[in-house]
Amino acid sequence: MTDSPPGLYVHIPFCAKRCSYCDFYSEEKSSLVKKYFELLGAEAGSYSSLFREFGTLYLGGGTPSLPEAALIEGVIDALSRIFDFVPGRETTIEVNPDDITKEKARSYAAFGINRISVGIQSFDDAELTFLGRRHDSDTAVKAIDILRSEGFSNIGIDLIYGFHDHTEESWRRTLVRAVKFLPEHVSCYQMTVPVNTRMGDLLAEGKISEIPDDLQRRLFILTDKVLTENGYIHYEVSNFARGEEYISRHNTRYWDRTDYLGLGPSAHSYRSDCRWWNVSSVEEYCTLLEKGGDPVIGREELTQAQIDLEDLYLGFRTRKGAALSLIAQFVSGDRILGELAEDRLVSIQGEYAVPTLSGFLVADRLPLLFY
């Protein structure tokens, strides 16, 4: 936990078309869009006494760039009336390249949005088709140009790799192309195929296959190599920033267990060692709020052991690492740490055990070694 002011997440659960690999909650066609935006305000209002001031605002999806800009303006206005935001807050919106027009970009800037996360995924058109994206690489390039020309100075690019038939050569091409735009931030998500997706079905039917771990490993290392050579900091398993100031302040709150509030269906929140989450259906969400009810469907109070496990696993996902004082609490913690250091999976830096690149590659395994 840190003393930073909490983060605010708003889920925009609408997509023009679902990507074949995505199992985040979203609706493809919904008549509830307008009503949903109104009710977001109602949900936010219910937290007005629990949360006062936020350090970040993050509009994620779904596809937040899909609804007309006025709706985004509306929700930001509503939130600003209910909550305070620290001066110079980080305000991010996730966008799809083909939604970006000059007008939209200008509006976003006018609403105070100062960070754009562009879902480019790949610069290879065949790959984009396979991934079920609606844009092509030209559209992606155009979107970045528009955003730059409208003055955005903190642009993040999201990329995906390690899917069926992906090769080191094609991934390198995408990476090299991406860094040419000098994005302030790059997220590179290695593909895991969720079961309830079109791609999951193809996999189950044997029409596509997952690539071997060995290649996944090489792709991960290649990602690190290309991006760090180009001046990026590998600060989380999948995240790179072109300088300390471009590290995602919002996402960092998840990893260092700062409080955050999530609004909208399927959004998760965390405050004072308590986690809770909302129903994952727009329809139910709207019905509940209209009736003056509460869309929260799950809640848990963390025990100290759970807090420790979270600190450990989240710590090993970032370059901050896991605190030595935490590790010392585990039976044989220091011995195991010694072995990890010897195997070059972590390095001891000050009061933290920081994962190396090889450590990042097995970040899900590291915490288990202490149990």
């Binding site: 771990d213 998760h268 929140s269 288990l368």
Partner: protein
């Protein structure tokens, strides 16, 4: 005595034994419909699930004949497996007759025949019953013919029954009364009673099931268990009517229970004779023998801190299972545990299952072993049932292992497959005959070690369930025996060591190594698995290092999902055993136990 009939039901598995017992009990009105449940005599979950009877049960059924005479029919339900054949033989020795149940759609099967022989051995009156006549596939005429031809019994007069629908139950009762002779025995002679079972009651101690052969026994009598020489005062006796029903006395011919302040079933012996302390008898009833374990395995708690809990559980378990033996044992890999002795592999499996289920013990069990004998160069003879104590090979003059005589019955067409199996299992001196046309009775002398290694299941598979099997211990024979050790990253996993015949060593070691490769999860480092005799590696496999294990994305702020997965994995790790730095899951030990040759 004229109005008593003591009988058992015997059948090939799935021919409807438990269902028939259920119907007979329901017919008698011993339990209300509300309290009735299927397989009422099978109390243990494992009995119900596997459809086998493990413990004998007795029920005293009152019956009034069509002509109005009142009878007491004692049904003695016997275990159905070769491991418990001694218990079965004592239960049958307490009967005068047996219902031989044959499935109308399946006809006579191997077990039917084996059961027939067992009944004949005890001079029992045999009443053939054709069950499941309600099935569309029932072929009553053919079944009658098979009973005539293959069993040599009166097929024409076999009783037709559908235990499921309750058809023919009364005919069965009438036949029992008419054909099974009343018990013989002298009422006025001194007491002699045969113990055929004992169950543990947490409040009363051992509850002995017995058949009063001669004389009578009353509440308050002081009895003597002849083979043990112990003396006990009877607190209560009576008959089983599902629940115990106390009486003042039991007389010659009757079957009932005795509670006499005996602490545990281990303080009794199945097959022992009870007499009155004041009137000691010169001769025990025929057929008593001490049952000795023939299969040995070590058990270890998954969580090494749980040794006390396991010790408690064993003590409790032993209260109701006199055949189990155990003593403390320790393993470098698995810590403190117990070496246990069993009557056979099923007994072992039942034990493992009940220990987990009823006593909540998570255990690792080592490969079962028989008792080997080694003559050393200094003339000493060493008895070894645990590979851990395999002597220095340089000192071994002679190694000996127990042999059995296997009796296997099956339809002729499986001859090739069965011969092949027996020869692969180092069987020798075979001969066979045709008890009836089309059926083979095959005798083989075979190492017991080969039999406990899944032989029975294998036989069942290759004969499609038609093979039956029984065995007697013969003698010890000289053989070339070696010990295989399994090394994981150079560390010996003593619990996986096994004593095997030299010819089988390599294939066995390869199997274990392969099976471990499948079962041991990837670690952060490469794991070498080796099988070795002495210092010589004869098999190897490798688990490559885990070099990638990371999810790209934590779902937004959903920290819970991944944490829960980690919690589950951490819990799973608790069920693993550390050998050096390698975590071996319990399943790996189980899998090794289940890997077999051929």
């Amino acid at each position: 005595m004229k109005n008593i009939r003591n009988f058992s039901i015997t059948a090939h598995i799935d021919h409807g034994k438990s269902t028939l017992a259920d119907r007979m009990i329901q017919y008698s009105g011993l339990v209300t419909e509300r309290n009735f449940r299927d397989q009422i005599l099978d109390n243990m979950d494992i009995e119900r699930e596997r459809g086998i009877t493990i413990k004998s049960q007795t029920v005293c059924i009152p019956y009034t004949t069509r002509s109005g005479k009142e009878f007491v029919l004692n049904l003695i339900d016997t275990p159905g497996h070769v491991d418990f054949s001694y218990e079965v033989s004592r239960a049958l020795a307490s009967c005068e007759g047996v219902l031989l149940l044959v499935d109308a759609s399946q006809g006579v099967e191997a077990q039917t025949q084996a059961n027939l022989y067992l009944a004949l051995e005890h001079n029992l009156e045999i009443i053939p019953v054709i069950n499941k006549i309600d099935l569309p596939s029932a072929d009553i005429e053919r079944t009658r013919e098979m009973i005539e031809v293959e069993l040599g019994l009166d097929g024409e007069n076999a009783i037709l029954c559908s235990a499921r629908d309750g058809v023919g139950i009364e005919d069965i009762f009438e036949a029992i009364v008419e054909h099974i002779p009343p018990p013989s025995g002298k009422t006025d002679s001194p007491l002699r009673a045969l113990i055929f079972d004992a169950q543990y009651d947490p409040f009363r101690g051992a509850v002995i099931s017995c058949r009063i052969v001669d004389g009578e026994v009353k509440k308050g009598d002081t009895i003597r268990l002849m083979s043990l020489g112990t003396v006990h005062k009877i607190e209560e006796l009576g008959v089983f009517k599902i629940e115990r029903e106390a009486r003042n006395k039991l007389q010659a011919g009757e079957v009932g229970y005795i509670i006499a302040g005996i602490k545990t079933v281990s303080d009794t012996r199945i097959g022992d004779t009870i007499c009155l302390d004041e009137d000691p008898q010169p001769e025990q009833l025929h057929g008593f023998k001490e049952v000795k374990p023939v299969v040995f395995s070590s058990i270890y708690p998954i969580d090494s801190d749980d040794n006390t809990a396991l010790a408690d559980a064993l003590e409790k378990y032993k209260l109701n299972d006199a055949s189990l033996t155990y003593q403390r044992d320790s393993s470098a890999a698995l810590g403190q545990g117990f070496r246990c002795g069993f009557l056979g592999l099923l007994h072992l499996e039942v034990f493992q299952d009940r220990l987990e289920r009823e006593f909540n013990q998570s255990i690792i069990m080592t490969s079962p072993s028989v008792e080997y004998r080694f003559v050393l160069s200094n003339g000493e003879e060493l008895v070894v049932d645990n590979p851990e104590y395999y002597p220095d090979p340089g000192l071994i003059e002679m190694a000996k292992e127990p042999f059995i005589r296997a009796t296997i019955m099956f339809p002729e067409k499986y001859m090739g497959a069965v011969m092949k199996l027996c020869l692969a299992r180092r069987g020798v001196n075979s001969h066979f005959n045709y008890p009836v046309p089309g059926r083979i009775e095959l005798f083989f002398e075979m190492p017991l070690a080969e039999v406990i290694d899944n032989f029975y299941d294998k036989l069942k598979t290759i004969t499609q369930g038609y093979g039956s099997f029984d065995y007697d211990l013969l003698d010890y024979r000289t053989d070339d025996l070696v010990k295989i050790d399994i090394l994981v990253n150079g560390e010996k996993v003593d619990a996986l060591s096994a004593i095997v015949h030299r010819d089988r060593a390599r294939s066995r070691a390869v199997q274990i190594c392969d099976s471990l490769r499948e079962e041991i999860p990837r670690h952060m480092f490469k794991i070498a698995i080796q099988g070795a005799i002495g210092g010589k590696v004869i098999a190897r496999s490798t688990v490559s290092a885990m070099r990638k294990d990371v999810t790209a994305k934590c779902y937004g702020g959903d920290i819970t999902r991944k944490r829960k997965l980690l919690e589950k994995q951490a819990k799973g790790k608790k069920r693993m055993k550390a050998v050096g730095k390698v975590m071996i899951p319990q399943d790996a030990f189980v899998a090794v136990l289940r890997t077999h040759d051929d």
